[in-house]
């Protein structure tokens, strides 16, 4: 049983210690807005060079998975995704916290993250090489359609008017074209500002659009930021477990989506959590509650984003292509260590790989007690801190977080300006999420479009390139389905709803 040996070598006291330290550090870094999982991993890299490769990898994997989970804290408590992967967590997490269920939301996020992480790691353990081959079937055209599919999610994300959501999405895409186009080389919409040549960075924009409006509204009244339902009821673990078990299919589906999206290089945790959120909303029996603190949406987002950890490591280890941005850093660390990724890694250096994978399992499981403990403290202190400290402290975090992404003062200015603009737009009925979706998906769609056009042109037919590749056709069908399914559903439900709500009005 070589597998058992790998498990044992993963569970040495030193490796366990690394896993615990990694998860703790990752959770804390991830919880701070602006400090992303990529940064958490990058900070740790130099410390791993003195360790054996497998131990170093375990530490990196632990901090990575912890950071993805930690992003949920600020998403739930401050409406600010701590990492881009937690964008969809804000949709239900923050309303839950607002109505007094913040403790429940944090516990639920922890459970969902652990399950999602385990599913992703399981696929990494069992099916890595064949799944990596799937990732390679996705060419530029497939990414183009995938991004367009993602943009149709605006339909299910816009609160209120669909048209306003669409406008927000357009604005996001336009914002993403600002600066020097890496694909194509055009310099667009910079208005001769040198500081705009590099474009608008996603993470500072996220912080601005989500967190600054919260701050602006926080100072307007004396009401406490978050309410408590009754007294502090502890972890509410039993309740959370029941909820999670009640939507076990949601957990399974979201974890699967997370793994698959993680495998696709160039997609990543934010897209994984958004897609599973939209899917959960479509299929949940309580879909009407979405947007008002429905636990199903939170579960979907959190299980999906942690599943991308295992999923993203599949192309990283098998092909030498980073699946997600933090994987790029891990790949660099592997190069420095002299570990050669590639198909041979699983046979020639199986000791390192499998020890690492089991270490990832252990770290993910450790996340349950650690996450619950840290989450409880985070929640309690946020409740206890008076507004006069909370506001400047959070503002401070947004500033330093926006700065630290690229160590750039310009990003701080962009963050604040976008935040104020976002608050203003919300007063006109335009919400932030469609803008963010456009900002993230716009560049993927455009790069895919330009590359697909160039490749199609070289092959003789651009149209054939875009409309005849099997995976493309499948995604196009999904797009059509997702656009028209709500209409079909509405037609079916409308009479029923009229009957139900008739007497009440």
């Amino acid at each position: 049983m070589p597998q058992l040996d790998f498990l044992i070598s993963a569970a040495t006291p030193f490796n366990l210690l690394l896993a615990v330290a990694g998860v703790v550090a990752g959770t804390v870094i991830g919880a701070l807005p602006g400090l992303t999982a990529t940064m958490a991993v990058a900070v740790l890299v130099p410390f791993t060079f003195g360790m054996p490769p497998a131990s170093g990898l375990i530490a990196l994997g632990a901090i990575y998975t912890g950071a993805i989970y930690g992003g949920a804290y600020s998403a739930i408590l401050l409406n600010t995704p701590g990492t881009p992967s937690a964008i969809a967590t804000t949709f239900e997490g923050y309303p839950m916290a607002k109505r007094g269920d913040g403790d429940l939301a944090i516990t639920l996020a922890c459970i969902a993250s652990v399950v999602g992480g385990l599913v992703g790691a399981l696929f990494l353990l069992l099916l890595a090489p064949p799944l990596a081959a799937v990732a390679l079937r996705f060419g530029p055209v497939e990414y183009f359609w995938l991004a367009i599919f993602g943009l149709t999610l605006i339909a299910s994300l816009s609160e209120g008017s669909l048209l306003k959501g669409a406008l927000g999405g357009c604005l996001g895409v336009i914002l993403s074209t600002i600066g020097t186009a890496e694909v194509g080389g055009d310099i667009r919409y910079t208005g001769d500002f040198k500081s705009l040549l590099g474009g608008i960075e996603v993470v500072p924009a996220l912080i601005g659009l989500y967190c600054v409006p919260v701050l602006i509204d926080m100072v307007a009244t004396a009401d406490p930021h978050l309410r408590l339902k009754e007294k502090l009821a502890g972890y509410r673990l039993g309740e959370a477990l029941r909820l999670a078990w009640g939507s076990k299919w949601n957990v399974a589906r979201s974890s699967l989506i997370g793994t698959v999206v993680g495998i696709l290089p160039g997609a990543g945790g934010s897209i994984a959590s958004l897609v599973s959120y939209a899917e959960a909303r479509r299929s949940s029996p309580r879909s009407a509650n979405f947007g008002h603190g429905e636990p199903d949406g939170l579960i979907a987002s959190e299980s999906a984003n942690n599943a991308t950890v295992g999923g993203g490591l599949i192309p990283t280890l098998v092909l030498g292509i980073p699946g997600t941005p933090p994987d790029a850093v891990i790949l660099g660390a592997l190069m420095v260590q002299g570990v050669r990724s590639g198909p041979a890694l699983f046979s020639v250096q199986s000791q390192i790989v499998y020890t690492f994978i089991y270490g990832l399992f252990i770290a993910t499981i450790l996340m349950l007690p650690i996450g619950l403990l840290i989450g409880r403290h985070a929640f309690r202190s946020l409740i206890a801190i008076p507004k006069a400290i909370l506001v400047p402290a959070v503002a401070f975090l947004t500033v330093i977080g926006a700065y630290a992404v690229q160590n750039s003062e310009n990003d701080v200015l962009q963050m604040v300006l976008l935040g104020i603009a976002g608050w203003g737009l919300s007063r006109f009925g335009f919400s932030a999420s469609p803008i963010v979706l456009g900002l993230i998906l716009g560049p993927i769609a455009e790069a895919g479009f330009v590359q697909g056009t160039l490749i199609g042109g070289a092959k003789g037919s651009v149209l054939a390139e875009f409309f005849t590749r099997p995976i493309s056709v499948a995604i196009i069908c999904l797009i059509v389905l997702s656009l028209f399914y709500p209409l079909v559903l509405q037609r079916k439900r409308l009479p029923a709803m009229r009957r139900q709500s008739g007497p009440a009005q």
Partner: protein
């Protein structure tokens, strides 16, 4: 005092000064700023330097990232940083020459004082291992048969990869299609998935992707020691040598003596056999352009790239 004793004292003083200075640098942590995000070639090579830096000086380096605008965010601020030798910045070619030509990026090529060019990643044509193109000759013939149908993935528009594709197309008299991607990772994905015929990448790509790919030719003077089966363009009759060059710069106002110390230190690391072995295993090719020769090197590269940039039509009007 006659002339020779004068000379002797002068020399002795110089030696003493140099000795004192050499002992004094570095006496605290050196900030090493990378103009790109973590995980790229600039980061990896800095990480490889780090342990040898520590071993040789008993001091540490703090590697920091200040990405943005393709490196220009850092380089435009370089001359405002402390000029004491304790802030050093990674520099890249052709970026330093092409960016100011293309647009106003806040710095000019001559503003940047690189004190040592320590390695480069040579350009290379890479194809998937299953590709029917076995040699560079196959590729050129295929491209001549049906112009424009051969596609190459590469990292970015107007980048080192893009430049190499243009140069080679001209030399071989062929027409191929360059498809820009965001970064090496995305370009490699398209390569492995056979979305493109091949890739204009670097020797590091060949090392990273291993046996999944085949290298048709490298733009080096002689073959890369770790990729002996891949011929150079020169062997095959094309005078193509180049790639992405990486160096270390300090602010322009740094005293000459400190510049020399930084240059000497990087040079010392560069001559450590262990370091060279690690760099070459990752696919890098070593380069030793020290302070005395950087000016001449830059002048040569500048005229070379400027001519190319004009041809490609990327020079700002």
């Amino acid at each position: 005092m006659n002339r020779s004793t004068k000379l002797f004292f002068a020399a002795a003083a110089a030696v003493a000064l140099a000795g004192q200075a050499a002992a004094a640098y570095p006496e605290k942590t050196v900030n090493y700023i990378i103009a790109f995000g973590p995980g790229g070639e600039s980061d990896v090579s800095a990480r490889l330097q780090e342990p040898f830096f520590r071993k040789l000086t008993n001091q540490t380096v703090a590697i920091q990232y200040k990405a943005g605008a393709g490196g220009a965010a850092t380089w435009s601020q370089l001359n405002g940083m402390p000029a004491d030798g304790y802030t050093i910045v990674g520099t890249n070619l052709p970026h330093l020459i092409l960016q100011p030509l293309e647009k106003d990026v806040g710095y000019k090529t001559d503003d940047i004082d690189t004190v040592y060019w320590f390695h480069y990643t040579p350009d290379a044509i890479i194809v998937p291992v299953a590709s029917p193109l076995k040699t560079l000759k196959d590729l050129v013939e295929a491209a001549k048969k049906s112009p424009g149908t051969i596609t190459f993935s590469g990292s970015g528009t107007n980048s080192a990869n893009h430049l190499a594709q243009r140069r080679f197309d001209k030399m071989a008299g062929i027409k191929t299609t360059y498809v820009p991607f965001k970064g090496t990772g995305a370009s490699n994905t398209a390569l492995l998935g056979s979305q493109v015929t091949g890739s204009w990448g670097y020797t590091t790509v060949r090392m990273m992707l291993g046996e999944q790919v085949r290298c048709l030719a490298v733009a080096m003077e002689s073959r890369h020691p770790k990729i002996p089966d891949c011929p150079t363009f020169k062997e095959l009759g094309y005078d193509l040598v180049g790639g992405a060059y990486r160096g270390i710069a300090v602010p322009k106002s740094t005293p000459r003596q400190i510049k020399q110390q930084v240059s000497d230190l990087i040079g010392k690391i560069n001559k450590t056999p262990e370091f060279v072995a690690k760099m070459e295993a990752a696919g890098f090719a070593m380069l030793d352009i020290d302070l005395a020769r950087t000016a001449e090197f830059m002048a040569r590269k500048k005229s070379e790239y400027e001519a190319l940039a004009k041809e490609m039509g990327i020079v700002r009007k």
